[in-house]
Amino acid sequence: MKMIACPIQGLRPVSEFVYWGEVRDTPDPDTCTDQEWADYVFNRNGVAGIKKEWWCHIPSNTWFIAERNTVTDQTVRTFLYGEDGRC
């Protein structure tokens, strides 16, 4: 089975993980327009590429970020939130 490197648990089978979509900035709901909010709620970047995504290792409930190539399904690197200086 395909393996993913959890930053805490190490290499584990993909069936132990859940995918939670691309890492995105939430606009401030108090100040953004309805259109900006609709864009945030519905629209997605569906184009292939290397993307930063939220993943969770279910048995240990470890949430982390994976940089993954969505064409080849290869994980470039995984890290915990806040560990790369930007997100």
């Binding site: 993909v14 995918y19 609709a38 519905f42 629209n43 569906g46 292939a48 995504e53 064409v71 080849t72």
Partner: protein, 413 residues
């Protein structure tokens, strides 16, 4: 028909012409450029030429015709949806399907089988009853049936599903059918070609030119084409095409896998679907069992197959039909599904003038092939949205007017 067969038998050469011509050169300009020679793109070309007199059309295809999701689906045709707009739309499609072989003079092996969506819980039953009532209201043949009815029609099925998910009832949809999927693309392709449409395979679109909000041309791997109307019907490549015209959409891409077994004697007439078990199964004209499950659980732009899928799906199939344990799987494959958050397509006009979209076909596109072609041809030819597809516009994600089709997704996604 026998005389035609006789000609084949007696002729030293193949007497039948090619299904469509190959054109060495692209023209400088076309009235309409259709991107994607799958069922939908070719159907739109066919109806543009046949019903609207627009035949200066070219269909561009990066690969070969019908090589995408048209040739990768599990060929189920039904109209037992849950929303009024969904039921009307898919019912129009089923009616077109029924005449399509005659329309093309090509046997699509359209085979009306009946379709059962199994209910394993009270909430499943509630949804089935809801769907049956909406369907009947719009004149679509659907009925909630109890376990006795199902057991009588399907004596070979384990009604207890191995003891853990007993079948409480089902939505029985008599018009449910299957068809030979690639023949659909070939039928539409041949019909369009005979009416003057050009089909260009191995021609990739690399850019779309937009000037002051209007489409003015398409850049391809074989040169530039001038056109004021572009229809985008590219399923899993839609986000990339939308990027070229700077449009946002909610489309996200997940693979959908399927597989077939070795052929067996005919034993399964209807199509069986179970959302709880993540299974759908039918038996093709060749005797193979055509099997599908739910979407892969994360984004991927690749048609690779996985062993997890085969194992998981086989396990669930055995819960319904334990006697299949010795039947072998002979092929598996994947298609790239362009999913939308409300499980309905995105069709019609866009904020870019002359750029028409036929996308968001996720896991429900094959059955819509004829009606999508027909309504998109109308929309492109008249530049006004066909009444059957007004609820499916891209604009619904700006106006928070999503459809409620999620309840009828036949398999849990």
């Amino acid at each position: 028909m026998p005389w035609r067969l006789m000609r084949f038998a007696l002729s030293p050469e193949h007497p039948e012409g090619r299904m469509f011509q190959t054109h060495a050169e692209l023209k400088d300009s076309y009235d309409v450029v259709i991107i994607g020679a799958g069922g939908h793109g070719l159907a739109a070309a066919y109806y543009l030429a046949r019903d609207h007199g627009v035949s200066n059309v070219c269909v561009l295809e990066k690969g070969y015709i019908g090589g995408g999701n048209t040739g990768r689906n599990t060929t189920i045709i039904r109209s037992n949806y849950i929303t009024p707009e969904g039921v009307r739309f898919y019912d129009a499609s089923v009616k077109l399907w029924e005449d399509l072989s005659e329309d093309f003079d090509l046997n699509l092996f359209y085979s009306k089988r009946g379709h059962y969506t199994l209910a394993h819980t009270d909430s499943d039953l509630r949804t089935m009853r809801w769907r049956a009532e909406v369907n009947k209201h719009y004149g679509v043949e659907s009925e909630l049936v109890g376990p006795e009815f199902i057991q009588r029609e399907l004596p070979m099925m384990d009604m207890s599903c191995g003891g853990h998910a007993p079948v409480l009832g089902a939505l029985h949809h008599a018009p449910g059918a299957i068809a030979r999927h690639d023949a659909v693309a070939w039928g539409y392709g041949r019909g369009a070609d005979r009416r003057g449409v050009e089909i260009h395979q191995k021609t990739e679109v690399t850019g779309i030119s937009v000037m002051s909000g209007k489409v003015c041309g398409v850049q391809t791997s074989r040169g530039f084409i001038h056109t004021e109307k572009v229809l985008c019907a590219v399923a899993g490549s839609t986000p990339r095409l939308l990027n070229m015209v700077d449009l946002q959409s909610p489309i996200y891409i997940h693979p959908l896998q399927a597989m077939v077994s070795e052929p067996t004697k005919p034993w399964l007439n209807p199509i069986i679907v179970s959302g709880s078990l993540h299974v759908y199964i039918s038996q093709s004209a060749r005797g193979e069992l055509v099997l599908g499950a739910s979407l892969d659980p994360y984004e991927l732009h690749s048609t690779r197959s996985t062993l997890d899928f085969t194992e998981g799906l086989s396990a669930h199939i055995l819960e319904l039909f334990p006697f299949l344990s010795h039947v072998k799987i002979v092929r598996q494959w994947a298609g790239i599904a362009d999913m939308t958050p409300d499980f309905a397509p995105i069709m019609g006009k866009t904020p870019v003038e002359g750029f028409y979209l036929d996308a968001g076909w996720g896991t429900w596109g094959f059955k819509a092939t004829p009606v999508a072609g027909k309504t998109m041809a109308h929309t492109v030819a008249s530049d006004s949205i066909h009444p059957l597809i007004t609820e499916f516009s891209l604009d619904r994600f700006r106006s928070y007017a999503l459809t409620g089709e999620k309840g009828a997704a036949s398999v849990g996604h």
